[in-house]
């Protein structure tokens, strides 16, 4: 009747169905080694079945109920509070960020505009002086070349000094075009040279030396 071998016992245990276990039991009746294995197997199963734990705790359900109720009460309000706080912080942060950025940008823009505009004004004045100086030099040159009077010689020396000073100042300005002090100094020199040249042009070569 029993057709299974010892090697097939594991297959029957793996199957685990009532029929398989019955077949294993029949085989074990004639095989001590398999009987021992099967006995351990069944003992483990029986022990496990006795390990289901049951106990009464009348306080557990009320505790769970309270926890759920607390969670239900707390969750939406808590979520709303967190959401509102996040929106507020993000909103304030973004507003401050944009305000500061705009302020910084405006200030920088104003600074740039003022600087550019002042620089343009100075350079326009310089160009105006240079143009006037060029014209005056053309007019004054013959007189200066023929400087016969002490006054004309003095003008000539003054103009040479001014040219040296202007050249030096222009060199310094090349290194730092934003230097207002040098710019003012250069303008003053141009103005002085222009005035000196005008004086030279106005000077009557035939006029008697006082």
């Amino acid at each position: 009747m029993t057709t299974v071998t010892c090697a097939q016992l594991d297959d029957l245990l793996f199957d685990g169905s009532p029929l398989a276990m019955e077949t294993a039991a029949r085989h074990a009746e004639h095989c001590d080694a398999c009987a021992e294995k099967l006995a351990d197997w069944n003992e483990i199963a029986a022990t496990a079945q006795s390990m289901r734990a049951t106990w009464e705790n009348d306080l557990l359900w009320p505790r769970i109920e309270r926890a759920i109720r607390a969670e239900r009460r707390k969750s939406p309000r808590w979520l709303w509070q967190v959401a509102a706080a996040i929106v507020l912080v993000v909103g304030l942060g973004a507003t401050m960020f944009y305000a500061l950025r705009n302020q910084t940008r405006d200030a920088a823009f104003d600074r740039d505009i003022l600087r550019i505009s002042a620089l343009d004004e100075v350079e326009r004045a310089e160009r105006s002086h240079i143009a006037a100086i060029d014209k005056l030099e053309n007019l004054a040159e013959p007189k200066l070349d023929e400087a016969a009077t002490p006054l004309m010689v003095s003008y000539k020396e003054k103009l040479m000094l001014l040219d040296d000073a202007i050249a030096e100042c222009e060199t310094l300005i090349e290194q730092n075009r934003q230097n207002a002090h040098l710019r003012r100094q250069l303008l003053a020199m141009y103005s002085e040279k222009r005035q000196t040249l005008q004086d030279v042009v106005r000077e009557d070569p035939n006029a008697a030396t006082p």
Binding site: F14, T47, M51, T54, N57, E65, I68, E71
Partner: protein
């Protein structure tokens, strides 16, 4: 008072499925206290037993059950109905037990599971406490998944289909894991006797 029983459980392994399960889930999402109580009355004992057999003491088991109910409340809207509501709840419970085990490993080591079992009152005269303690000790040495498969099948009487859904494995895999676990336990059992 802790008790164990040789008889199979009176609680059905799974709840009625389909629309009934979806009704439970919807009511849980709304926080309906009566439905939670219904779930507790229907599945609470099994949940406590599963938790006890994972965590080893009633206090931690009750904490796990409470935490599971809170998680059910939070996640009820995500219940799809693929598994029965009870299977879904047991899955949450098992994962909660894993979390608690990891979090409380040190505490459990300080209060060995054998001590808890020793002080517990049992009413299973056919199998002595020494065997239960031996088996429990051997189960504690197993990896989480193996222990859970063994616990759910041999102790709680769940089917391999249900265990597969709880652990996210196939039915066949659950069967194989149980067989391999029992073979391992058999070897150790023999040596411990």
């Amino acid at each position: 008072m802790l008790q164990s029983a040789m008889t199979t459980t009176m609680i059905p392994a799974t709840a009625p499925s389909g629309s009934e399960d979806r009704r439970l889930a919807a009511a849980c999402a709304e926080g309906d206290s009566r439905v939670f109580e219904e779930i507790y009355r229907r599945f609470g004992d099994r949940m406590k037993s599963i938790a006890w057999n994972h965590l080893g003491n009633a206090s931690d088991a009750e904490d796990a059950v409470q935490e599971t109910f809170l998680k059910i409340h939070r996640a009820a809207t995500t219940y799809t109905g693929e598994a029965s509501f009870s299977t879904w709840a047991y899955r949450i419970l098992v994962n909660t037990c894993y979390d608690l085990l990891r979090r409380r490993r040190r505490r459990i080591e300080e209060a060995p599971i054998d001590d808890v079992v020793e002080t517990a009152e049992r009413t299973a005269p056919s199998v002595d406490d020494a065997k239960r303690m031996t088996l429990r000790k051997l189960l504690n040495e197993l990896p989480e998944q193996r222990r859970t498969v063994f616990t759910l099948f041999e102790i709680e009487g769940l089917s391999h289909a249900e265990i597969g859904q709880i652990l996210g494995i196939s039915e066949g895999n659950s069967k194989w894991i149980l067989f391999a676990t029992k073979k391992e336990l058999q070897e150790k059992w023999k040596r411990s006797q």
